[in-house]
């Protein structure tokens, strides 16, 4: 085989391996992150995954940041309940209903909200989220629109629920998926460093912290301004 052609083939093979996609997930996890699972064989990973579905009971007011299966069973009428979900900035939340036993006709409801809403204030705000507010609520009781699997648009989501009858309730599974270019983020921690990359999308994005912190902006790239490039990265400390 001619040496030139062999060199071309080698280059193509390297290029194909890079584009196969798996390396993107390693990059998304971050160079400094300690991920021992990557060293395991497929059999060991399967054995570990099979053992590891985390389960617990859901409280009326709850916050979940882990994957797993959560069950709410009303011991008494619970009329004002909500569970918040939060993941890492580079994650999306998926909610899968496994079992639902509520009386929709009797006034019970179970609604997923794409984001967080607190005292009427929404995150992301209406200006930043791609959907109108009414479409951010996914109602289990809504006729003709039973969605068993719901994915959030950012790293937070929440459910509102009301159960009148003791013994009624529901079970769902939370999973997290990678979000390559997070746009609206709530930080779980009061300290850290975050860089937001918005590739050629004309949209509003935001980064929120619910702690009192000092934010230092270090690098910013906002397109071209008189041929100058400005870079911003964010460092926040409590």
């Amino acid at each position: 085989m001619a040496s030139a052609f062999r060199l071309q083939c080698h280059c193509i093979l390297i290029f194909l391996a890079a584009l196969k996609g798996e390396t993107r997930y390693l990059e998304a996890r971050g160079a400094g992150e300690d991920e021992p699972f990557l060293l395991l064989s497929a059999d060991l990973k399967r054995e570990l995954a099979g053992r590891q579905l985390y389960r617990r009971a859901l409280r009326c007011i709850d916050m979940l940041s882990v994957e797993g299966q959560f069950t709410f069973t009303a011991e008494q009428p619970q009329l004002h309940c909500a569970a918040f979900f939060i993941g890492d900035p580079e994650e999306l939340i998926t909610i899968d209903y496994d079992f639902v036993n509520i009386d929709c006709q009797g006034g019970d409801f179970l609604k997923v909200f794409d984001g967080w809403i607190l005292k009427g204030e929404k995150f992301p705000s209406s200006l930043d989220h791609p959907l109108p507010t009414s479409e951010r609520y996914i109602d289990f009781c809504e006729s003709g629109n039973i969605r068993r699997s719901i994915r959030s648009s950012q790293n937070v989501a929440m459910i509102f629920f009301r159960v009148h009858e003791p013994g009624n309730g529901f079970t769902f599974t939370i999973k997290k998926n990678a979000n390559l270019f997070p746009c609206n983020v709530i930080s779980q921690t009061p300290a850290g460093r975050f860089t937001m990359v918005i590739p050629h999308q004309h949209r509003n994005c935001s980064f929120s912290i619910i702690y009192p912190v000092v934010i230092k902006i270090s690098d910013l790239i906002l397109g071209h301004v008189n041929s100058l490039h400005l870079k911003v990265s964010c460092l926040f400390v409590s």
Partner: protein, 103 residues
């Protein structure tokens, strides 16, 4: 030589075709949700109910959004509890991992 060049070009073109993941980034969540078919076994909404569904959506858009009157202080408290739970779960996973590796 020409054949080698054509083969190389063909392989490069296949490799550079846009991937499904990248396409998903340009598709809005609303469009994705609207275009996703219902899973098999779920009843398809009959056409006669669609106007009623549109009325329900309009009614919902006029209602005040459901919200919770939780203070930021309490929100931070439950967030701290969630982080502690996540750390405990991670420690448990690491312990299981070491047990498996030790076999």
């Amino acid at each position: 030589m020409k054949l080698q060049l054509l083969v190389s070009t063909g392989i490069l073109l296949v490799a550079l075709l846009p991937c499904h993941e990248c396409r998903a980034l340009t598709k809005s969540p609303a469009a994705a949700a609207a275009s996703a078919p219902l899973p098999p076994g779920f009843p398809q909404p009959p056409p006669s109910l669609l106007p009623r569904e549109a009325m329900e959506r309009e009614k919902r858009s006029e209602e005040p959004p459901i919200s919770l009157d939780l203070t930021f202080h309490l929100l931070r408290e439950v967030l701290e509890m969630a982080r502690a739970e996540q750390l405990a779960q991670q420690a448990h996973s690491n312990r299981k991992l070491m047990e498996i590796i030790g076999k």
